[in-house]
């Protein structure tokens, strides 16, 4: 599924160039959920941006492929059509563009890129109603501009709504638990768990073990200094919670 091999990436220009990802290797097979944990500044968010093609990051070495296709060569929208979805840590407000219009435009753009027919309006509305019901999003919220006037929890639920509507092959969740209260965390986690599928992979980026109580990972990786320095099962997350990054990293170093 997603295969990252010896990936290196920098941010900044001229004298300010900094290497953030430094020889990172990671493989998430289809059907598995992997968690990436790490201290502030380890490169967690950068990894999600490099994989999805945000401007401002330069890949200086290594490769990343999704089902064998080199994603690093693709424009961001082509990566999306190929099945890569990022749930943003800070979802972006888009004034003047209603949620429904936005998601339908995105869905049809992806279909066009893949050479598929557009979704009909009735089919889209039916699907939207189903998904919104599961996430406790009201029809009124879906008429509002994307993320404008949404609370932190609503924004994260809207990310999951988009994810379920677009049904991507591979999900990257960047700090999806940040800004969520306990109830919202449960709603969001239920949404993510409903997306688990033998054909689909997930990378869950988080600071805290808390999210992993709800979204059970198959593997946990510790990211520090731009590379994976430790990999284990779910028990590794519990150990990090108990001993802190310093304890676990000290042992690895």
């Amino acid at each position: 599924m997603l295969k990252i091999d010896n990936l290196s990436a920098t941010v900044g220009e001229g004298e300010d160039v900094k290497t953030i990802i430094n020889g990172l290797t990671l493989e998430v097979p289809a059907g598995e959920v992997h968690a990436i944990m790490g201290p502030n500044g380890a490169g967690k968010s950068t990894l999600s941006y490099v994989l999805t093609g945000r401007a401002g990051y330069e890949v200086t070495g290594g490769s990343a492929t999704l089902n064998g296709a080199d994603v690093l060569e693709m424009d961001p929208e082509v990566r999306a059509a190929a099945g890569l979805f990022l749930s943003f840590q800070y979802p972006v407000e888009i004034p003047g563009v209603p949620v429904m219009t936005f998601v339908r435009t995105a869905m049809n753009a992806q279909r066009k890129q893949r050479g598929e027919d557009e979704i009909s309006a009735p089919d889209f509305i039916k699907l939207s109603r189903e998904v919104a019901g599961k996430l406790k999003l009201t029809p009124e919220m879906l008429k509002r501009p994307v993320n404008v006037g949404f609370s932190g929890g609503e924004k994260k639920r809207l990310e999951i709504y988009q994810m379920m509507m677009l049904s991507p092959k591979f999900l990257i969740l960047d700090e999806t638990d940040s800004g969520l209260d306990i109830d919202a965390l449960k709603t969001v986690s239920d949404g993510v768990n409903a997306m688990r599928d033998p054909e689909r992979g997930m990378l869950v980026i988080t600071h805290y073990q808390r999210l992993l109580d709800h979204i059970k990972p198959d593997k946990v990786h510790v990211l520090a200094g731009g590379k994976i320095i430790k990999t284990g099962g779910p028990e590794l997350a519990l150990r990090l919670e108990g001993e802190g990054y310093d304890g676990v990293l000290g042992e690895a170093g």
Binding site: G53, R54, A81, V92, I94, P95, P145
Partner: protein, 406 residues
């Protein structure tokens, strides 16, 4: 003893000489003469005049009848109850006028003052009409539920000048649309709207001209007690185009809503200038102007609120201008001005110019929307905020914006 016509304008350009010749062919009329004299005081306005520093008509208008593209499609004509069409030889109208609207044969209203501040408006007043048509189309509105009336200005390859006076009687209401679709080398139109007590006016203006056309639209809007005007402009510019609106709050509790969107592509210049005088207490002005400009295009926003010390007390006024520079090479000039002498007022203004937000673009592309489409969607959403007030015509204007972005 009067000055010979050719000496009215100092060091005239060829275009100005043509304008003098056109004026000489008009029948004699004291009002025309006053208007032309006012125009001649400055000639075609130019960059050394403070209000025209970014829109130099003297330099840009090379000739008056230069051949140009045929006029553009007029999206607003359909659905209007009556259409007044202005051509180089005067105006014509086809439909029977709706009840509550009539043409006045003789001027029953005095022309508004201040023509000396509006050189191109004065020019329009001096050159409108012809030997067989009156200089001024005067309309009187007495009804309050009239269907929309429409004014179409297309030049048919010549210069086009027009002057319209609309009197809206107490309690009456009117919706008008005006389309300036080019087709003339140089055109200038003057509208004077007089809103008496509790009168209402919805004015929708659409302007789209070619790369070799100069267009000026000047409107003076006078508001009496509790009168309300809502104006929505969508303008695409021309070689040089200026849409100027001068609002005077003459009596208490009047309200003006001035919304405008401009989209300037390569080779286009669009100037939106407004002047609002709060000449009475408790009056409200809400103004929002949004622009988007491509490489080689120029947008100009000049807005002024003038609030005199006693007369303007308890004014509530807000002026916003926001422009998107869509590409390197796009140019926007903005001059928002608040001139406030009264001490118990609420007046605000804001002015921003910038590029599209990279975070928004990436978010949209991550969802699968190609960059070009994402830019169009964001730009459209940005400018449409200024077109919300266009009522039933909003969809048509939205379609025009969308077509330009595609």
């Amino acid at each position: 003893m009067t000055t010979p016509l050719r000496d009215l304008i100092k060091n005239p350009t060829p275009a100005e000489l043509e304008l003098v010749a056109r004026y000489a062919m008009q029948p004699e009329d004291a009002r025309r003469e006053r208007a032309f004299t006012a125009f001649a005081g400055t000639g075609l306005p130019h960059r050394r005049m403070e209000n025209w520093r970014w829109s130099d008509f003297k330099a840009q208008v090379k000739g008056v009848e230069n051949p140009s593209e045929p006029s553009r499609h007029d999206p607003l004509e359909e659905g209007a109850a009556a259409v007044f069409r202005f051509t180089p030889t005067g105006f014509e109208y086809s439909a029977k006028l709706p009840a509550g609207l009539r043409m006045l044969a003789k001027p029953e209203a005095q022309a508004f003052g201040g023509a000396e501040d509006m050189p191109l408006g004065a020019l329009a007043a001096a050159l409108s009409g012809s030997k067989t048509r009156p200089a001024t189309l005067m309309l009187e509105v007495t009804g309050s539920d009239l269907p929309r009336i429409h004014f179409a200005f297309d030049g048919e390859g010549e210069a086009n000048f027009g002057r319209v006076v609309v009197l809206i009687r107490p309690g009456a209401a009117l919706t008008v649309s005006e389309s300036y679709t080019g087709g003339a080398g140089f055109s200038s139109v003057l509208f004077e709207y007089g809103l008496q007590d509790k009168a209402q006016l919805d004015r929708i203006v659409y302007q789209r001209g070619a790369d070799d056309e100069a267009i000026a639209v000047t409107a003076a809007i006078n508001l009496e007690e509790s009168a309300e005007v809502r104006q929505t402009v969508l303008a695409f510019g021309a070689k040089i185009a200026r849409i100027e609106t001068r609002v005077t709050h003459q009596k208490e509790n009047a309200k003006a809503v001035l919304n405008a969107a401009y989209l300037a592509g390569a080779g286009k210049h669009i100037d939106l200038t407004s002047h609002v005088r709060h000449g009475a207490q408790h009056c409200v002005t809400e103004q929002i102007t949004k622009g988007a400009v491509l490489d080689g295009g120029t947008g100009v926003f000049q807005g002024k609120f003038h609030v005199p010390r006693k007369a303007g007390q308890y004014t509530n006024a807000d002026m916003q201008h926001q422009a998107l520079l869509l590409e390197q090479g796009a140019v926007v000039f903005a001059k928002p001005e608040l001139e406030i002498y009264a001490d118990d007022v609420e007046c605000a203004h804001g002015n921003t110019c910038g590029a599209l937000d990279e975070n928004q673009l990436f978010y949209m592309r991550q969802r699968g929307i190609p960059e070009v489409q994402a830019r169009a969607l964001l730009t459209r959403a940005f400018v449409m905020e200024a077109l919300d007030g266009a009522g039933m015509l909003g969809d048509i204007l939205a379609h025009e914006v969308g077509a330009w972005l595609d």
